[in-house]
């Protein structure tokens, strides 16, 4: 019967092409709007390392001013970064499977073959566990070991894009390059790695691309390179040189640990609390105990990575889809009722209520499928338009925001949007199909 119903549906569409086009356009508009907002929202709100959500933890301790909280709007939150003193102490713990501290430095790369001018690169100064902890893929080579961290050894990892720019994409492992005038040996080139949002660093722009160069964290203090990202401090201690900076109550280092078990998490927290207690006895940490290990999902939430505007926009998109669907229901009802004479005839000829219901539901499903297909097309065009629209903004913030990744066609997210739209359209069509199936045949035969 399905093929017969499909045939009847196609004849019905040909009978009323205008109404059919109107319904398809209404659904497609709603779906298109949903696809665009869902794609951006999904990219912004998604957890790019969901498979490690419950083993990766951001480490925070409340070392802030006893007189006022770090964030007056959220007094319960500890600072989102650590002081140098606290970070380097916590790094001595052997409890985590992996642990990394990190900050951003601004570097200039020079000395590649044929390079005429230095290239500024945002550099992540971190520890070697950064790569295995965050499952960072490598195209060539790999990261560095703890000995290189301790040295520090002059090793550097480049992003794929940077390697392409400097070495034409060839295997550059083993070659040397100048980073801020000092020679570094390339030990690895990243594969395609675009975590959106950049969960490990929400303090800087969480929607920026990952850095183009990575060096051992200790090079910062060794070369007395001040962080390129934000640092916040309190207290009256003067900061006139690098040494004073690292000794001050300034928070500028992010720390992540990998704790695979509940027991290791408890032990790590106990380690942090014991350090907190010792420091408190020495006059630091005068605020209440507020040490946290926060998993990736919660970390994105507490740092409001997805702004309320985006959530509102998403709700508006769904409201728009609902309005489109309600309109479609109205059109479907009008269309079906206009054909009530034929429906009465079909009932007289022996069609049961359920047969009439399914016949009309198939028609709704075809409209939903057409609407979803056109909506998908509109969504893709919409995403391209958003990319185009924001290319100017991208140029303004020097390309630091990863707009292509935000508006990247995400098959899973779009699959969900399409399935949702198709299901909701069919659900919306249930009422008209049910109504037409309930019509008493004799009353409508007269109108035929």
């Amino acid at each position: 019967m399905l093929s017969y119903y499909l045939r009847l549906a196609s004849k019905s569409f040909r009978r009323t092409p205008g109404l059919t086009a109107l319904m398809v356009c209404a659904i497609a508009l709603g779906i298109g709007a949903c696809i665009v907002t869902l794609t951006v929202y999904h990219a912004m709100a998604g957890n790019p390392i969901w498979w490690k959500n419950n083993v990766l933890y951001a480490v925070t301790m409340d070392s802030w001013d006893p007189a006022r909280p770090f964030d007056p709007d959220n007094p319960s939150l500890a600072p989102d970064q650590l002081t140098y003193r606290d970070a380097t102490y916590l790094m001595t713990s052997s409890i985590p499977k992996h642990k990394a501290i990190m900050t951003q430095l601004l570097g200039m790369l020079n000395g590649a073959p044929g390079q005429t001018a230095p290239i500024p690169v945002m550099t992540r100064a971190t520890t070697g566990d950064f790569f295995p902890m965050f499952d960072v893929p490598f195209e060539y080579g790999g990261g560095w070991d703890a000995a290189a961290d301790r040295g520090p050894e002059p090793v550097i990892v480049l992003s794929r894009a940077e390697n392409e720019k400097l070495f034409g994409g060839s295997d550059s492992v083993g070659r040397t390059i100048l980073w801020n005038g000092r020679q570094f040996r390339i030990v690895g080139v990243l594969g395609d790695w675009q975590p959106v949002p950049r969960f490990y660093d929400v303090v800087n722009n969480p929607f920026a691309s990952p850095e183009d160069a990575y060096i051992p964290f200790s090079w910062g203090p060794t070369l007395q390179e001040l962080p390129a990202g934000p640092s916040s401090g309190w207290g009256s201690t003067p900061v006139n040189n690098y040494q004073q900076f690292v000794n001050a109550e300034d928070v500028w280092i992010e720390m992540w640990v990998e704790l695979p078990t509940a027991a290791s998490r408890a032990r790590m927290l106990a380690f942090m609390n014991s350090y907190w207690a010792a420091q408190r006895r020495n006059g630091r940490f005068q605020r209440p105990l507020n040490n946290h290990l926060t998993n990736v999902g919660d970390w994105l939430k507490v740092n409001h990575v997805v702004s309320n505007d985006n959530s509102i926009l998403l709700r508006l998109a769904f409201a728009f889809l609902a309005v489109c669907l309600i309109n479609t229901v109205g059109i479907l009802l009008a269309k079906f009722l206009r054909r009530s004479g034929i429906t009465g005839l079909l009932r007289a000829l022996g069609a049961s209520r359920s047969q009439v219901f399914y016949q009309h539901l198939v028609e709704v499903a075809v409209v939903a499928t057409l609407g979803a297909a056109v909506g998908l097309l509109m969504g893709i065009i919409g995403l391209k338009a958003v990319q185009h629209l924001y290319s100017a903004a991208s140029a303004l913030d020097a390309g630091s925001t990863n707009y292509p990744a935000l508006t990247h066609f995400d098959p899973i997210g779009i699959g969900w949007a399409l399935a949702l739209a198709a299901v909701s359209t069919v659900a919306a069509g249930l009422y008209p199909a049910w109504t037409i199936g309930r019509l008493p045949p004799s009353r409508y035969l007269k109108s035929q």
Binding site: Y4, R347, A348, L349, G350, A351, S352, S442
Partner: protein, 241 residues
């Protein structure tokens, strides 16, 4: 074939009650050709709707082909309509965007019949009504008489035991009306019971029995000639002096 006993049907609105059928009793035997006549609003169409299971009734007993239909579910009534009853309407009621073949196919589709059997039945029915060569024509390409013949083909394709015809010649000229009646008689001769609602005395006369309905009640159920003679006698008796 069709037996109604004291069947009543009342249409109710907030303001009024209309008794469309009052203790309506009628028996039509298998293979009969019966006409139903009566003035407008007498309940002919309601009778046809109830007889055709298009409407339910309030009280009484109705047996169709030996089966009590008063307690059948909607699905069972639909199935019975599909398998046992063929409908012919005054305004033909063909589906305008289906060709002739597909129009005749409709009731067979709902019976979930196999394609080969459907094809054979459709061809046979269209041959019988003389339209075997016009299967791909659309209804709008046919004359009124031809359209009604398609409707007849649709009604008989399912091989029903009973055909209910509501003013089947009402929209046709006299020549076409006669052709349609010839066709119905031919079908009746093949054993199908026919109940025909008509205003036309000429058509009523061609049935074996005429049921006269007034105010939802069967007034008479006799061969047309006998009823007319009774009517004329009654008129003569009432003439003054």
């Amino acid at each position: 074939m069709l037996k109604m006993q004291d069947v009543s049907k009342v249409y109710r609105t907030d303001l009024i009650e209309t008794h469309a059928l009052r203790n309506f009793s009628l028996e039509v035997k298998s293979g009969q050709f019966v006409s139903v006549s009566g003035p407008s609003g007498s309940g002919k169409t309601t009778f046809l709707n109830v007889a055709g299971l298009l409407e339910t009734f309030d009280t009484g007993i109705y047996h169709l082909d030996g089966q009590d239909v008063s307690r059948l579910s909607d699905d069972a009534r639909s199935r019975m309509r599909n398998e046992k009853i063929g409908f012919i309407f005054q305004s033909f009621n063909l589906i305008p965007d289906l060709d002739i073949y597909d129009n005749v196919d409709v009731p067979l589709r709902y019976r979930r019949m196999k394609a080969a059997e459907r094809n054979q039945r459709i061809s046979k029915a269209l041959e019988l009504v003389g339209l075997g060569s016009r299967t791909k024509h659309m209804p709008s390409q046919l004359s009124g008489g031809q359209q009604q013949r398609v409707a007849i083909a649709r009604a008989i394709a399912g091989d029903p035991a009973l055909i209910l015809a509501d003013e089947p010649t009402g929209n046709l000229d006299s020549l076409m009306a006669r052709q349609v009646m010839d066709l119905l008689e031919q079908i009746n001769e093949m054993g199908t019971t026919i109940v025909l609602v008509t205003h036309d005395p000429e058509l009523a006369r061609r049935a074996q029995r005429n049921i006269h309905v007034v105010d939802g009640v069967v007034i008479d159920s006799a061969p047309y000639e006998r009823r007319m003679a009774v009517d004329e006698r009654a008129a003569g008796n009432s003439m003054p002096g």
